[in-house]
């Protein structure tokens, strides 16, 4: 853990976040499950190639908000969205948006690892196959290897790519799901509590991985674990009861937050 913290404080990586452009911008977003309003007027900017963490108590809407960023909520019946979500200045809720294309650009890793009941290789190759990314089978194998290396899983599975993905341990399965998402080279990677079901060792592997990945990807991570948010993120957003309370640089957020509510939550006065 100390190793991660030391890297977290690396000034080169830190300063990079302040100069980059905005990757995604959310403007006045409302979200409804039927008649229940789950998100209230949220506006937020996600800069490119940083790690942004969403924190807040259970049911505060942080996962719902995450899922609006690649329209995963579309599959839930009777949901409704108001406001805008822009990626590179294009509104993803505008009519005629290709949702399939959007989800290629904005990948997602879920709380519970969900490998397909296929081989390790086929799991990673799935996104490449359906999106017809690769022409030849050697190119496909190359991309799969690359994704598994990016997800720090290659050395553990390279000799058994044809075995079932379900034979992997929980932590390995989650890294496989990350590899699967990385294989199609998304621009943004959404992670919904990716380490909440894992033991500390597997968790620290995922956290190290997130740290490496932000060189290439914009990462948004939902977490219940405030230490985790402090360890991996550059910017932190605090949600409460469907409202965005505060967005701030992570060090600032955990040392001197602007809002009283944020301070109360972080110091454990509620939630």
């Amino acid at each position: 853990m100390t190793q991660i913290l030391n890297r977290d404080l690396n000034p080169d990586l830190r300063s990079a976040s302040s100069v980059v452009k905005t990757k995604m911008a959310v403007r006045n977003l409302d979200f409804f499950y039927g008649r229940v309003q789950a998100l209230h007027n949220i506006s937020l900017e996600i800069p490119e190639r940083i790690v942004m963490a969403f924190i807040g108590p259970s049911g505060c809407g942080k996962s719902t908000f995450l899922r609006t960023l690649n329209r995963m909520n579309d599959v839930i019946p009777a949901t409704r969205v108001g406001g805008q979500v822009l990626i590179d200045d294009h509104d993803i809720y505008a009519p005629g948006t290709d949702v399939v294309e959007l989800r290629r650009r904005v990948g997602m890793v879920f709380q519970k690892s969900n490998p397909f009941p296929k081989s390790i290789f086929e799991n990673v190759a799935y996104g490449l196959r359906i999106n017809r990314v690769t022409g030849s089978s050697s190119e496909l194998a190359g991309r799969v290897e690359e994704a598994l290396k990016d997800a720090a899983l290659w050395n553990e599975v390279k000799d058994r790519l044809k075995t079932s993905a379900l034979s992997l341990s929980g932590g390995q399965q989650q890294r496989l799901c990350i590899a699967r998402a990385l294989a199609i080279r998304p621009e943004v990677l959404l992670m919904d509590e990716p380490a909440s079901a894992l033991d500390p060792i597997a968790t620290s592997k995922i956290e190290e991985l997130i740290f490496d990945l932000k060189k290439q990807y914009t990462i948004v991570i939902v977490t219940h674990n405030m230490q985790q948010a402090a360890r991996v993120s550059d910017t932190t957003a605090f949600f409460l009861l469907g409202k965005l309370i505060e967005v701030n640089a992570t060090e600032k957020m955990f040392t001197a937050p602007n809002e009283k509510l944020t301070e109360d939550y972080i110091t454990g006065r509620f939630g």
Binding site: M72, R104, G107, N114, F116
Partner: protein, 263 residues
């Protein structure tokens, strides 16, 4: 409580064992290799049920060709595609179809296929059996697809897969062992049907030559021999029953074997 349930179990198992052993005892005497491959002969000349075994297999094949794809498609619709009232109505109709007495299915096929064609046929028999299969296969397929975790659907969608590719490439393969089990159980179920075949496939004393002709089946042959006045035919009916029972038992054992591999 323990003794009561044990008693009930004992009764049920005993009944089953008595049926099985009685059929085996009555049937084994007339069973021979020749009996399994010969076609029927007039009373007193022996003969066998080779044509009926082949006929039953042909009927199972025809009904599977029609019934399995249709039933699986309906199941996929109910689980993956259909929503709201229409799906509810379809599900209700499928449930009702499951409960229709098989003789009614036979009469229906008689009316829509046999009467216009003006003769009984293997095809009509196959269609009648398929109609019995469809609702069984549809519901088991639906149940098996619903057992596939929602997280797999989301995982595939999040990779940019369109709905139909999620269904075809992830959901159906994940449920495939269960769907296969449902299909085998439906086949086992219809292989014992007699009523829908009586006036569709009708029966025949010869080996099948065309799907457009009446065809023999084990069940109808057993029925015809059992109601005949000849002791020899009664004995052959018992032997044919033993063969049919072994066939159904075999299918069920295969099903058990296939399901055992699931985890």
């Amino acid at each position: 409580m323990t003794s009561l349930t044990a008693l009930c179990t004992l009764l049920a198992v005993t009944a089953l064992l008595i049926i099985l052993s009685y059929i085996a005892w009555q049937g084994i005497g007339s069973l021979s290799f020749q009996f399994l491959i010969d076609s029927p002969k007039p009373v007193g000349e022996g003969g066998g049920i080779g044509n009926a075994i082949l006929g039953s297999l042909v009927l199972l094949l025809i009904s599977s060709v029609f019934g399995l794809p249709l039933g699986i498609c309906v199941g996929v619709y109910l689980s993956e595609v259909g929503t709201g009232r229409l799906a509810g109505a379809v599900r209700f109709i499928v449930d009702t179809l499951t409960g229709i007495p098989s003789i009614v299915t036979g009469v229906f096929v008689y009316a829509i296929i046999v009467l216009p064609m003006k003769h009984f046929s293997a095809l009509a028999g196959g269609v009648a059996l398929a109609l019995i299969m469809i609702p069984i296969v549809a519901r088991t397929t639906e149940e098996m697809l619903k057992l596939v975790p929602h997280s797999l659907r989301e995982g595939a969608l999040a990779l940019g897969a369109p709905q139909w590719r999620v269904t075809m490439g992830v959901i159906i393969p994940a449920a495939a062992p269960g769907i296969a089990t449902g299909a085998m159980l439906a086949i086992a179920r219809i292989s014992g049907e007699t009523a829908p075949l009586l006036f569709t496939a009708f029966g025949s004393r010869f080996f099948p030559s065309s799907l457009n002709q009446p065809i023999a089946s084990l069940t109808v042959q057993i029925y015809n021999y059992a109601i005949s006045p000849y002791d020899e035919w009664h004995a052959q009916a018992w032997a044919a029953t033993l063969v049919l029972m072994t066939l159904v038992l075999g299918i069920n054992i295969i099903v058990r074997f296939l399901t055992r591999k699931r985890f």
